[in-house]
């Protein structure tokens, strides 16, 4: 077994070979795989948690909660007989495709990460909650899990450490709300994916009422590297106060849509202009959603901002998943918002009435504005929706997420909406 001489700058994608089968267990171990887990098993669980805390790893699912802090909320005094670790691989945030690439490209990296995380919080069972349509990721993950069972890297007494960890794959049947961590827990219990009130937080009472940690796939993939190379190294590969790299992405009418692992805090300009190749010929950038459908628009004025959680929050948006959706000057803003709000309306779980009824209402107003049949007062109505369905007024984050692109579009592109009111010039249509 070889340990590499220098730690990698791009740890998450270091072993991924595009268009190739992922490394099997033997190849993965040859390239330094399962060294992180082996090292973790020789540490005290709380030491692993402290290391992750010091590394400054923040949740890559979009909320950016400190991973080590989340783990630290789990009781470690022996009071809980059963604890669970759950990987959130629902990835249904429109515009987001990073977890699929990680699972298809290097499934063992993920398995190693969730096993180490399970060890840190004292969970003996882990579940991978994977969205239904990721068939290839599911197939490769099943194969990796089977290899690990066959080589005592999963199951009873892993590598003679006394630590037992069983890992099961749950493939979903499709609903966006499953990505919300308490809704995901409901779904894993075989119920409708309805979110739960917090507190209690999952770390105290989660799956089947047991202490549970839910972490995003990309988050967990970072864990073996942090254990192996240390907190200082993890902070050194970042350009931001938060540690590590980030799988950034871009979709829309850029020259080369894709995903790239770059230092956390890389600017939006570098991602969109260097890596995505800039806009297609003849098109101009009007705005972008920095990290999925449920984040506020930013504009060309924000391109020099560092894509990290705090910087993007200060600019009035969220980094979210870091996978940008680009709006060009030939695409209808109102049409794009109508598409987004239709998505959120369809995917509301229906539990919270203002969400269930307010989102389709919003969609109808936008549909009229898109067709040039809006009424005077529609913009004020939309503005009101963004307040009534905003943070602090709803049962979960679904409706506030839906309002983020809308409130920012009304701020930056108001004239486009005004043109949709009947009797004025027709709305600009692509």
């Amino acid at each position: 077994m070889t340990l590499r001489t220098a730690p990698p700058d791009r740890p998450l994608t270091d072993r991924i070979r595009p268009e190739h089968e992922p490394y099997n267990l033997r190849e993965y171990e040859k390239h330094g795989g399962y060294q992180g887990l082996r090292k973790a098993l020789k540490m005290a669980p709380q030491e692993v948690t402290a290391l992750v805390k010091n590394a400054g790893l923040r949740g890559r699912g979009g909320a950016g909660f400190h991973t080590g802090v989340k783990w630290g909320l789990v009781p470690m005094d022996g009071s809980a007989k059963q604890k669970y670790i759950v990987a959130n691989g629902d990835e249904m945030e429109p515009g987001t495709f990073k977890d699929r690439l990680l699972l298809e490209g290097d499934p063992h990296q993920f398995v190693e990460g969730i096993a180490a995380a399970g060890y840190a919080i004292g969970a003996t069972v882990g579940y991978v909650f994977l969205r239904a349509e990721y068939f290839l990721a599911a197939e490769r993950l099943r194969k990796a899990i089977a290899e690990c069972y066959a080589h005592k890297l999963l199951g009873e007494d892993i590598q003679g450490s006394g630590f037992t960890f069983n890992l099961y794959l749950h493939t979903s049947a499709g609903r966006y709300i499953c990505g919300e961590e308490t809704a995901l827990i409901s779904s894993l219990e075989g119920k409708r994916a309805v979110p739960r009130a917090k507190p209690p937080f999952p770390a105290q009472s989660g799956l089947f009422g047991k202490p549970t940690v839910v972490n995003n796939i990309e988050t967990l993939c970072n864990v073996p590297h942090i254990v192996l190379y240390g907190a200082e190294w993890f902070r050194s590969i970042s350009k931001s106060v938060d540690g590590g790299t980030k799988i950034y992405g871009a979709s829309g009418k850029v020259k080369r849509p894709g995903a790239w692992e770059l230092p956390m805090g890389t600017t939006a300009r570098e991602i969109l202009e260097e890596h995505a190749g800039g806009m297609r010929d003849g098109l101009k950038l009007r705005g972008f959603l920095p990290g999925g459908a449920s984040t506020d628009f930013l504009t060309a004025d924000h391109l020099d901002l560092a894509m990290d959680f705090d910087t993007i929050a200060k600019a009035g948006s969220r980094m979210g998943t870091g996978q940008m959706i680009v709006l060009d000057d030939h695409t209808s803003v109102v049409g794009m918002l109508r598409n987004l709000e239709k998505f959120f309306a369809t995917e509301s779980c229906g539990w919270f009435t203002p969400c269930r009824d307010g989102l389709p209402w919003t969609e109808r107003i936008l549909r009229d504005l898109e067709a040039g049949k809006g009424r005077p007062g529609d913009l004020e109505l939309l503005q009101q929706q963004t307040r009534l369905l905003g943070p602090g007024r709803t049962f979960c984050a679904h409706a506030p997420g839906a309002m983020e692109p809308l409130q920012s579009a009304l701020k930056y592109f108001r004239a486009d909406f005004e043109r949709g009111i009947a009797g004025t010039a027709p709305a600009k249509v692509a």
Binding site: P94, S172, A173, M336, T346
Partner: protein, 157 residues
């Protein structure tokens, strides 16, 4: 009645959970894999197997996008209608499919070959627009010439 094979597969999944009813989604997917859809009778049979009520199983079955409570065609086409695909022209793709197949979204062709459904983001936004036919993702469908669409559909008999 559940078949012995379905029962065996459901029992395998049951073993992974503290509570039998947690395997409801797996059980629905197993039955659908074998029969194409989930009938009222299957809902009742799954409920009996998992020790829960048919109403409870049906509340789950009707919640999730990919459990079919009505018969579908031999192949199901899911065309992505989320934002990245929309920006890249998914409306053209969706219109072309509806025209080619002579059905609207949510309908099945008269020969029972295809059911056409919308679906939210397939997670392949860098190669939009995209659609899923059975378990195959088809990408880069920005310009859909008739012959290209036909060549894709031809693979599904």
């Amino acid at each position: 009645m559940l078949t012995p094979e379905e029962i065996k597969e459901i029992e395998h999944e049951l073993a992974h959970y503290e509570q039998p009813a947690a395997a409801t989604i797996e059980a629905l997917k197993i039955v659908q894999k074998h029969r194409g859809w989930v009938s009222d009778e299957a809902v009742a049979d799954i409920a009996a197997k998992l020790g829960t009520s048919p109403a409870s199983v049906d509340s789950v079955a009707t919640f999730y996008n990919l459990i079919y409570r009505r018969p579908v065609g031999r192949h199901v086409i899911h065309v992505c209608d989320s934002v990245s695909c929309w920006v890249m022209g998914q409306t053209r793709l969706s219109d072309a499919l509806q025209q080619r197949l002579g059905v609207k979204l949510g309908e099945t062709t008269t020969d029972g070959r295809f059911t056409l459904l919308p679906i939210c983001c397939l997670g392949t936004c860098d190669r939009a627009p995209a659609m899923l036919i059975d378990q195959d993702t088809h990408r880069d469908l920005e310009s859909v010439e008739d012959h290209r669409l036909d060549a894709i559909l031809e693979k599904y008999k």
